[in-house]
Subunit: 355 residues, 4 copies
């Protein structure tokens, strides 16, 4: 079978490296182009020593790598490659966009990003790529908007409750993430000397942009159940989303607290609900044990569990992902497989590196 | 001034090491005895290389070190030294007990520890040593029950709200801790290879023993305000307490979520409330910035802040401590200073090691 | 093609987990048995949460898993499974032994392990599995003795110099390793609280058992060049081997210092020598950049470089491996592939997880 | 006693923070000024959250803080504050300079720094502040050049051998350091995501600038013994210095390998030699156990030991320091105490934070 030619914009970021780790192993793909302003004309290993001796790719300019490819992965930061995405689409190429550019409805986008969506005319063709819930509309799509890392994790944790009408009025998401989510940019806050032995809250109390994504997806689930359509009608569900940085490179653990309107629940019933909801999903594991981030380190899986606090009536839904895997590059490749109609797990990683 | 003779039971644990780091610097104290079953007859440095060349203490048996001292710090694990504490008290010595043995009312103790309190006859003289809130009754006490680490942190975060009648019906505490809280015991779960790059929930949903301590203290604050009496009447306040292990040695960040019954609040008012409540406290700092654990690493301080999520109406109270400092040994020495009527900050540590 | 049935003894250790991560992906293998005294009768995920939902294997007793298999991987600690290895061999099964039981000549073994080799009668059939240097005799072998982690790393660094006659009289190996080399055993020294922010020398100055392995292999290279025979004659080369524990889970960096007898050398010539020596090796990468352990994290590769200190005349040979990959499980699977005559890179991992 | 007024240039760097942690506790010092280009006009806590609530200092411009003080600590990077140091000296103030500007003889400086010394006319009054070996000439000095971190550690390890004539022709220093030595500057290589799980060689084989400092000090010891004069005659001793970055914030472990010209040595004799050489030193501890960096974390101590490899004849001298303590700020305060004729341990830290 002929391999599909793909290029990666933003290949010098962590999301880019993780795309390469998967796409180099993909039996139906040939990576033909990698882009990075900073490393243009340099070999891949100048940026990523782990690929030394394994690839002869050279970073090239954006126009060149788009020209070469059938499909573009854009892992460049929010807002920086929107016009490239547009150009790729206009020249008939498909795009998987890992940025936030097309994740929200234009009005929600304006609220959270304090600016207008760059190309709102493209939004109607953008499919929100939370694979488990948008699978049907991803097949054949031209533009996938790959979800955020906190978002993916919280939504997978809360979706079964939303679908079953078990979300209470108050939904609190306490989401702890590794530092790689902040990217490979040189900021003092991200230095080892600042991060090690430090647990840090940030963008609390309704100020983090991922809030909008969580609210839209939960709204869709409430309206449509398990098979979502990006562009159907729905009302968002309000959530208090609160992110924290744990001193680690990878991993997100979302702890989602709500109080069920239905008092006739138990941990056992809740686990059954989750098992049913995600039955057959190749990248989801529902466990009666509490999920921990190391069990998904380096992978594209999400491990879920749920607890019920009988004393207070709270449901606690928990999800662990690798923010660069299921939370970024892994889901992007999953979306790619679904778009193309390939076996959907091709090149995805399920076995964590432990220890 | 003559130095008071103190001994330390459980000096081979992390709490013990932190007691020594403070008491060796205390101008009114002489450490005369250190106890540890495992290291008996060995020099201090066999257990703690950081004290090599700085002390000639030898670990001795319990009876000997009690005999030598005027006051005993007991840092032995829960339940393991209760009879030694009793013996020390009966021979006229004062005790600061870092274990959970006398932290709860006997009925609450039975509920959370699944056993009877060992010497309930001692409980009436035990003073709960949350220094900022029990200061008056600590002076002159014979037996201090030093609070737990999660407990101290959550209670300092929530007390101003409890006192001001701003706690809602639902109170969720999401408390992330470093691994040293698990002690120096050799367990697979605590190995570096298991902890690094791992964020782990444990004892969620009303199953962690610190829940009872939080509920009792908040109940006292609700009933008595800022000056608490351990043995006065009160009704506990129900809390959903949920602990997590972050991949770090030290530090606790408690995130406490509640929805105020009073809708006329703002972040500014809340910060004022916290500033007032802790005005003049030498070890508390209320900040408009978000607290992070590194800012209290190695110290006996607690840094607090509070946020208000206008969209959802949630108050988020945040507190950072070092679980071994303010959460254990530092508070024990603070209690000791208060008991003895010394200047209360003697030998306490306020400047964190950063980076 | 029919899959070969393999079993793994000691599957609850870190080496065992890494064998599973590779063998589950091996197209010609079926893992039929896993053994562990501690976890007998429990499912794999009770020990390894990362495999939850990915395997239905149950830990079984040693006799059962040997009975089921065509070939046995023994990842049990040194000395604990020697009789099981013997039994497996006697019943006609092949064995890849990851322990030190058959790594040394009986007299060298006695010197370093302070005891007699358990079954010296098996030693003549044991092939020392440093794949790059023993490839020819590994094909068709029945018993492979898989090299140690420090050993593999130091020997790959020094072999080209030994073969070229460039080793001086003094050879100093300074080898820094991650803590996972100490295994999954619960020891205080291996706790996160003890390891983080700690760099620790151990077994210095000719007291570490890996010294003997390094000396034997370098002796063989000096006598035989690039194609070694385990049981041919040779004189060991004396080395001062000095190991250190760095605060990380995985990775070894060996720094090997020697002063060439040949003064007509340069960094460029040395790099050429290394490139030639390892030309065509699928798991070796010789780089002009300095190797770092993260570039091989989770992999079965070794990255090498060499420096020449013109001022002092020292050659510094450097090698980075993952102690659990190329230093243990990865090399074991490489040996397995060679024994069986399979394509030698099957199921081996070359792309590191970065970050 | 009236407190001496001191100011700190470069107070926003890690060395600056550590100076503050000590000087705020110094009974004879008042910190009157702090300088930092980046934080000018901002309060101390904007830069260092750990001092929030503990100080009301504001960052000011260089001229102002020099004007205010009796003595200046300059913790600004190499070359950036040389003219400020000159101005402070010319206006009659004393200076402790933590940079490399005056650490080397002008010709050695030119060799290692590839430029001329900025103010060679000041060099004759600069005293090299390795406290244990230059104590006599530090008293009363106007300008102290505070040694480098790798340098201090290696020199303390090797000085006893140099003084006793036990250095061989070859001296190899393998020095592993925490990342904080690279400063608080935002570079990709220093990000948590790059540093964690990574052990990295850098500037090997005679290319690191600290080499010159080690060679000069060992030369002085060889010529003068235990009481050194910065400006006396001596011949440097050649050393192969090789630094590595371990994944930790703080700590240096120097491993120094040499082969004694005297064959009549033993570990016991060497330990005696070290004990004698450092007898009475308040910040040095010679141990028969192997030193580890955690035992000096956060302190101004150096723990030393020595091993003898009987098989190969190598002496291995080992020293552990905290690069920011004894390796920088702690030694600077030690120098300050000596200059002023104060009790030399004032405000120095001897008890490590463990765990």
């Amino acid at each position: 079978m002929k391999r599909l030619k793909v290029s990666i914009l933003g290949a010098s970021g962590y999301g880019g490296a993780e795309l390469l780790r998967r796409l180099f192993q993909h039996p139906l793909v040939e990576v033909v182009g990698i882009g990075s302003r900073q490393y243009e004309s340099q070999p891949l290993e100048a940026c990523w020593p782990q690929f030394a001796g394994l690839s002869s790719l050279i970073f090239e300019d954006t126009a060149t790598i788009i020209e070469k490819c059938d499909l573009l992965f854009s892992a460049a930061p929010h807002g920086s490659a929107t016009s490239d995405v547009k150009a790729a689409l206009q020249s008939g190429r498909k795009v998987v966009d890992l940025s936030a550019d097309f994740r929200l409805r234009p009005d929600t986008y304006r609220y959270w990003y304090k600016e207008e969506m760059h190309y709102p005319e493209l939004y109607p063709q953008a499919i929100y790529g939370l694979c488990e819930l948008h699978r049907q509309e991803i097949y054949g799509a031209n533009l996938i908007s790959n979800p955020g890392c906190h978002t993916t994790t919280a939504n997978l944790a809360l979706a079964p409750l939303a679908a079953a009408g078990l979300l209470g009025d108050d939904i609190i998401v306490n989401s702890a993430t590794g530092i790689s989510g902040a990217g490979r940019s040189a900021k003092v806050n991200n230095l080892y000397s600042e991060v090690n032995e430090n647990y840090v809250p940030y963008s609390l109390a309704g100020t983090h942009r991922h809030t909008g994504e969580i609210e839209e997806t939960l709204g869709r689930v409430k309206a449509m159940g398990r098979q979502l359509k990006t562009h159907a009608d729905f009302d968002p569900v309000m959530v208090s989303f609160n992110p924290y940085r744990a001193p680690m490179t990878r991993g997100i653990l979302a702890s989602c607290y709500t109080k069920s309107p239905d008092s006739n629940i138990s941990e056992e019933k809740l686990l059954d609900l989750y098992q049913d909801f995600y039955s057959g999903e190749p990248l989801i594991h529902v466990s009666s044990s509490l999920p921990e981030t190391k069990a998904v380190f380096g992978t594209d899986r999400c491990i879920l569990s749920v607890r019920y606090d009988q004393r207070t009536g709270h449901i606690i839904a928990l999800a662990a992902t690798d923010n660069l895997g299921k939370g970024a590059a892994g889901q992007a490749v999953h979306n790619f497989n679904l778009m193309q109609g390939y076996e959907e797990s091709l090149a995805l990683i399920r076995q964590a590196v432990w220890p």
